[in-house]
């Protein structure tokens, strides 16, 4: 385990669960383990701590999930072209600490790092989904409210997931990460049903803003290794931050990626500009007051988020899209949380309907 924990809280009701046993058996002896009646209380912010969100990341809470595991992507909105992504919430919060991360606002009231011991119940929900539309292809990811692999070496959830999805023809699992924690995946045969995706940023963004993540080169190398192990791989250039020199740096990043992994072997690349609600921006700046990536030329947009002003943002998208298409015209690219008109401007064609794009991204 590369990430440190201060404490682990286990809800009484799940103390004998397989997940609790695995974690207790793996965690270093100096990490205190306590038992609590209700994990939700343990996940609340500690009021006397100045950075309650940051402290929450170091406090793992193993508990039962009361809400459904499967949901539509929270980024989805009629205002945006959508990729049809479904989210499987098996954990909440992340040991890494990116300055731009939306979890700083989204999880402000319950920042404890929750991991759900009853995660096998999610498989029942997935079975119902499959049966409800057996002709459709679904892409389901665990990397929305947590990093998919950050704690996999102690939770072992990744293995169970890959094995479950390996037998499901119309489901594709996306494990999204900024780590290089892939050892537990090697040696399992995903049968083409799992893709591992990495968020990639230039070195400058990584150094300035993506605290405790793996370096971009390490992420690309990890991707190359899981590809060799039989997994599909994908990448998210998201958030794209338009600092001075960004276009050159992002294009160099793409070059480095294509040098390591042939474009034809990449399932897809998504792009998305940095976007922050006013509340998120205020929180991020309070937590990272000296981060220059948080004071770019962002303006308040019609959707209530700060984004890089439109000509600059679209120019960056166009340059990166052109470079990707030049490498492989068939490599699927899409924009995250952008309007239909922005999609048309960048790609020269209308965005695909969510179900169609979703199936295309999920497909082998």
């Amino acid at each position: 385990m590369k990430f440190e924990l201060d404490a682990i809280y286990i809800e009484e009701g799940v103390r004998t669960s397989a997940l609790a046993r695995r974690v207790i058996g793996t965690v270093p002896p100096h990490v205190a383990v306590s038992y609590v009646a209700d994990g939700r209380e343990a996940a609340r912010p500690i009021v006397e701590v100045e950075d309650a969100f940051g402290a929450g990341k170091r406090r793992m809470v193993i508990m039962r999930r009361r809400a459904p595991f499967l949901m539509a992507c929270p980024a989805g909105s009629p205002k945006f072209a959508c990729c049809g992504y479904l989210v499987l919430t098996l954990a909440s919060n992340c040991p890494m600490d990116c300055g731009y991360c939306f979890l700083q606002e989204y999880l402000a009231d319950n920042p404890g790092f929750q991991v759900y011991a009853n995660y096998v119940d999610a498989f029942d929900e997935l079975e119902r989904l499959r049966r409800s539309a057996s002709a459709r292809e679904f892409r389901v990811g665990t990397g929305e409210l947590a990093d998919s692999l950050a704690f996999d070496s102690i939770t072992g959830i990744g293995r169970d997931l890959v094995e479950y999805f390996a037998g499901r023809e119309n489901l594709t699992l996306e494990l999204k990460t900024k780590t290089d924690e892939i050892e537990d995946l090697i040696g399992i045969d995903p049968k083409g049903r799992t893709l591992v995706s990495w968020t990639l940023s230039p070195e400058r963004v990584f150094r300035s803003t993506e605290h405790r993540t793996a370096a971009p080169a390490a992420r690309i190398d990890a991707a190359r290794r899981v590809l060799e192990a039989g997994y599909r791989v994908a990448f998210h250039l998201d958030p794209i931050i338009a600092y001075a020199g960004a276009e050159r740096d992002y294009l160099e990043l793409i070059e480095r990626l294509f040098d390591a992994i042939a474009p034809a072997r990449i399932a897809f690349i998504s792009m998305g500009g940095i976007r922050m609600t006013p509340a998120l921006r205020a929180t991020a700046r309070r937590r990272f007051p000296d981060d220059p990536m948080l004071v770019g030329e962002e303006v308040l947009g019609p959707d209530g988020r700060y984004r890089t002003f439109t000509p600059l943002r679209l120019k960056l998208y166009a340059a990166l899209s052109e470079r990707i298409k030049k490498a492989d015209a068939k490599l699927q690219t899409y924009l995250c949380m952008e309007s239909a008109s922005v999609n048309s401007r960048v790609f020269g064609e209308a965005a695909l309907p969510p179900a169609v794009l979703g199936a295309r991204l999920a497909g082998n």
């Binding site: 001075a244 303006v299 947009g301 439109t310 000509p311 679209l314 309007s339 008109s341 401007r345």
Partner: protein, 196 residues
């Protein structure tokens, strides 16, 4: 000669008085008082000289802090602070000018925005020049999105009677190439390279 800490205490008292009179939010006051002495003084001088309203002060404080951070990163050999930012020629010129305080406050916010958002300001100026070059008649207005926050261009036609409306529509039709170019610029067209 008074001791530096006595000066500091005097400054802080003046800051507290100004903040109380303007109902400055506590969090903002705390941030002000946490600054280095010369930065605290520079902001107080700004607030008093231009007789700033609370909202104007908060906007300026934020812009100046962001400018200082951005410039510290782009040139690590220079110690850019709030005080040095306010000492810049284009800022000092506004502070020392003789116009009305509200007018200078507006001018200063605009100047700070130009420094804080240099590429946005260049693109906005380019688009404004493109609109002017179209020489559209008075009843036709090209409305660009505020701070170029979207890719929408709106054209408003105000006419009184059929003949005037026809004339204005014809003018818009004649300008269609230029209007199209402008819409492309908002979409990040390559010809913006110099500005971006």
């Amino acid at each position: 000669m008074s001791r530096p800490e006595a000066n500091g205490a005097k400054t802080d008292d003046a800051i507290r008085q100004w903040s109380a009179a303007r109902h400055l939010p506590d969090a903002r006051l705390r941030r002000w008082l946490l600054l280095a002495h010369e930065d605290r003084v520079a902001l107080l001088e700004l607030a008093e000289t231009l007789r700033l309203r609370t909202g104007q002060f908060v906007t300026m404080f934020e812009l100046i802090e962001e400018i200082a951070l951005r410039e510290r990163v782009s040139n690590r050999s220079i110690n850019v602070t709030i005080a040095t930012t306010l000492a810049r020629g284009e800022i000092r010129r506004i502070l020392d000018a003789s116009g009305s305080a509200p007018g200078r406050a507006r001018e200063l916010i605009d100047a700070l925005r130009t420094i804080r958002f240099p590429r946005l300001k260049r693109v906005t100026a380019r688009l404004a020049a493109e609109v002017a070059a179209l020489r559209l008649p008075g009843g036709v207005k090209v409305v660009l999105p505020k701070e170029l926050s979207s890719d929408e261009v709106r054209i408003e036609i105000s006419a009184h009677g059929g003949p005037e409306l026809e004339r204005l529509i014809d003018a818009v039709a004649q300008a269609r190439m230029g209007l199209g170019r402008m819409a492309d610029l908002i979409g990040g067209a390559d010809s913006l390279d110099d500005e971006i």
